[in-house]
């Protein structure tokens, strides 16, 4: 079974600063995907960024980027130029590839607060 660990229950950052959220995972799979989802107070989970395990290049989406270290099974999220609207719970998630690529396994989340 896969496990996803987020070791930072809470973090805070000043507006316009950069913050990094940590995630580690454990799997014996070679084909998989990793994700960061954001959950604001509205409870709706929103996909922030996605990484395919077979790609060595780190994914980026505007102010969001990841540091994917496959050998270390580490997948951190960097948020640059933090904005007040980035305040939310952030969940790291794992999904197997191949025929089972539909089930997400989530970590416990990190509550990020962006301070003005």
């Amino acid at each position: 079974a896969q496990t996803v660990t987020q070791s930072q229950p809470e973090m805070s950052v000043q507006e316009a600063e950069t913050v990094t959220l940590s995630c580690t995972y454990d799997t014996s799979e070679s084909n998989y995907y990793l994700f960061w989802y954001k959950q604001p107070p509205s409870r709706q989970m929103i996909l922030v960024i996605r990484q395919e395990a077979y790609k060595q290049q780190n994914a980026t989406e505007n102010r969001f980027s990841v540091n994917f270290q496959k050998a270390a099974k580490s997948f951190s999220l960097k948020i640059s130029d933090s904005q007040l609207g980035d305040t939310a719970m952030y969940f790291c998630a794992f999904m197997r590839g191949g025929g089972s690529n539909y089930k997400l396994t989530f970590g416990k989340g990190t509550l990020l607060t962006v301070n003005p």
Binding site: Y33, Q44, G99, Y102, L104
Partner: protein, 115 residues
């Protein structure tokens, strides 16, 4: 609507009662998922529908939980003889197909409180 719609938004019930939670996915999405998010935890997989059939119900905790999707669109999660431990946010998501690269579209969830 444009997004995944879940009703009710909040439901308070008494222990032992029967509850139904409804999910209306994005039009045209063939895959539908239910997840349960307990307080302080990440969402946990319950069940996955491809069309009308449950392709994987391995996450349902016990036989008090059941879900249907009779016409391949709206889905209902049914909980019998509710227990206090069933209190959680129940999230529904949909995607265009079942085998995807992880872009699930989530609703805002139904918060269930069992007294």
């Amino acid at each position: 609507g444009a997004g995944v719609s879940q009703t009710p938004s909040n439901k308070v019930t008494e222990k032992g009662k029967y509850v139904e939670l409804r999910c209306d996915p994005i039009s045209g999405h063939t895959a539908l998922y239910w997840y349960r998010q307990s307080l302080g935890q990440g969402p946990e997989f319950l069940i996955y529908f491809q069309g009308t059939g449950a392709a994987d119900d391995s996450g349902l905790p016990n036989d008090r939980f059941f879900a249907v999707r009779p016409e391949g669109s709206v889905s209902t999660l049914k909980i019998q003889r509710t227990e206090r431990g069933d209190s959680a946010v129940y999230l529904c998501a949909s995607s265009l197909t079942g085998h995807n690269t992880g872009e699930l579209f989530f609703g805002e969830g139904s918060r269930l409180t069992v007294l």
